[in-house]
């Protein structure tokens, strides 16, 4: 079980919540082999915001994330990351992929330490403890379950204390219980550290339970941009949760035209 962060810890860290960086995606177009995936795409994300991007498969949501990560070069448009106070140079951007992408030939701790100075070992151990895997530091990735591997991947991203964390369907291949556990863990670290988060998911309920804002992409454009005004921690059983989920799902499945709800 991953430990939850004490409320005191969260409150203390919230004071200096300046880790997050703003993201401005301006008229970005990406295409592969003549097929346009994103066309003149515009989105602004403010510092420290948690944005979920949903849509059917192939709608371009992963491509958007990869463009922000610099793994995809847009044919047109720009992605501008904001400045971080007290940090010269580029903001630190980390990506968590659907598969954990741990190096199978490195033990867990060296995996978390990837690209870091040996002096930061205590830091890496601390983060590993935060994701609840301190005692697995000397194991091989092959001996871990899928959920544990994703927690290591999260630790590897967090040890860099990123300004922007990009999550590309990181929970897509996990079982239902492990998913919920991981969602709580991600929400907790986001709340305590205050980085900006972009989560790509096909699970609307996951998007609503985690994000400040849910963006639906359809045909390479923003089809829906909803602010989630449900107080945290969110329970799926609440009426507002269910209503919002229904609304977004209807739009995804195009069961009926979008009607503004009263609440």
């Amino acid at each position: 079980m991953p430990p939850t962060f004490s409320s005191r810890e969260i409150a203390a860290e919230k004071e200096g919540r300046s880790r997050g960086v703003s993201v401005r995606i301006k008229s970005v177009s990406v295409g592969f082999g003549g097929r346009t995936v994103l066309e003149n795409f515009d989105v602004e994300i403010s510092a420290g915001e948690f944005v979920a991007i949903v849509g059917r498969s192939g709608c371009g949501k992963s491509t958007l994330l990869r463009s922000v990560a610099g793994l995809e070069m847009p044919q047109n448009g720009t992605v501008i990351l904001g400045k971080v106070a007290g940090q010269n140079g580029k903001p630190d951007v980390r990506v968590m992929f659907q598969d954990s992408r741990l190096l199978p030939w490195r033990r867990i701790l060296p995996n978390v330490m990837l690209g870091l100075e040996p002096a930061l070992i205590p830091q890496a151990r601390k983060v590993l403890a935060q994701v609840g895997l301190a005692e697995r530091a000397n194991d091989w990735p092959a001996t871990l379950s899928g959920g544990q591997r994703q927690r290591v991947a999260l630790a590897r991203a967090l040890v860099h204390d990123p300004n922007l964390l990009l999550l590309d369907e990181p929970l897509g291949s996990l079982d239902a219980l492990t998913r919920i556990e991981m969602q709580r863990l991600i929400e907790d670290v986001w709340r305590s550290r205050g980085f900006t988060a972009m989560l790509v998911t096909h699970d609307v309920a996951e998007a609503i339970s985690l994000a400040d804002r849910v963006i639906l992409i359809e045909g390479g454009h923003v089809a829906l941009d909803e602010v989630v005004n449900i107080p945290r921690p969110r329970t799926r059983a609440s009426a507002r949760f269910a209503a919002l989920e229904e609304r977004i799902l209807d739009r995804v499945l195009q069961r009926r035209p979008l009607i503004k709800d009263q609440w």
Partner: protein
């Protein structure tokens, strides 16, 4: 698989810890040995075709006491290993180069693939002409034969490194030597070791032929010299030595695999 739980695995019917099962692989070799000895002592197998196992053992003891055997073994091992180091080293470096740099592949790969199809042993007449029958001739032949398996498997290993891991490495700011050290080389290692194992087998084959044709020392020389005097027992000793040395080389390669690939469940000894 669940967290922290080990899968029970398939129940094997033969349990390796029972002595009878342990002895099983040796039943056939020992029976053959027994039949061989019996046929020799009964006079069915004349010693000018094949010596009796007892004669082989006594000539082995005789040769090792005189020190002649060890001298030849040392010479042959040295030749094999130096040829392997030169050929394998060049194969590894060129494989790294052509797999990493596109222009190097275009420049060199066609040539290497053409040369690969020439059996190294076909070059023996030419090699004798170039180097005579001294050490460099054997070194050259072994190095040439060992080069190709290492080269091809290094190239293939690097090309088949998981793209996802490379992409992940780049998002963590790795480039240049660190990306080779952390991702490319460990990822290519299983394939490189396949090449090494293959090369070690080839190394002895080429050396045997090279030594029987042109040498003044070494195991091949020992057997060829014995033929002149019809010493079939010495010839069999030489042949068995190759078998033992080949097996040792393979054990070494297996040991390297066990150690370097211990992260990979496929290379772990079965529980």
């Amino acid at each position: 698989m669940n967290e922290g739980q080990k899968s029970p695995g398939i129940k094997t019917q033969l349990r390796p810890n029972i002595p009878a099962t342990r002895a099983l692989p040796w039943v056939v070799p020992f029976s053959l040995l027994f039949v061989w000895q019996w046929a020799s002592s009964a006079g069915i197998l004349p010693s000018r075709f094949l010596p009796s196992p007892r004669a082989v053992v006594s000539s082995f003891i005789e040769l090792s006491i005189s020190g002649e055997l060890w001298m030849h073994v040392r010479v042959s091992t040295l030749r094999a290993l130096s040829g392997f180091l030169v050929g394998g080293g060049v194969g590894l470096l060129l494989g790294l180069l052509t797999a990493s740099l596109h222009w190097a592949e275009i420049l060199l790969d066609t040539t290497i693939q053409m040369v690969r199809n020439i059996p190294p042993l076909a070059l023996i007449p030419l090699v004798i002409l170039w180097f005579g029958i001294d050490e460099s001739a054997k070194l050259f032949l072994v190095a040439l034969g060992v080069f190709f398996p290492v080269y091809i498997n290094t190239f293939y290993g690097i090309r088949s490194v998981d793209r996802g891991l490379l992409e992940m490495g780049r998002t963590y700011g790795l480039s240049g030597w660190p990306i080779y050290r952390e991702i490319i080389l460990p990822g290519a290692l299983p394939s490189i070791l396949v090449g090494v194992r293959f090369s070690l087998g080839l190394m002895w084959v080429i050396l045997i032929v090279a030594e029987t044709i042109s040498a003044r020392s070494g195991i091949g020389y020992l057997t060829m010299n014995a033929r002149e005097f019809m010493q079939t027992d010495v010839m069999v000793v030489g042949i068995l030595l190759y078998a033992i040395l080949g097996k040792l080389a393979d054990l070494l390669a297996k040991g390297l695999e066990r150690y370097w690939l211990r992260w990979n469940p496929a290379y772990q000894p079965t529980r």
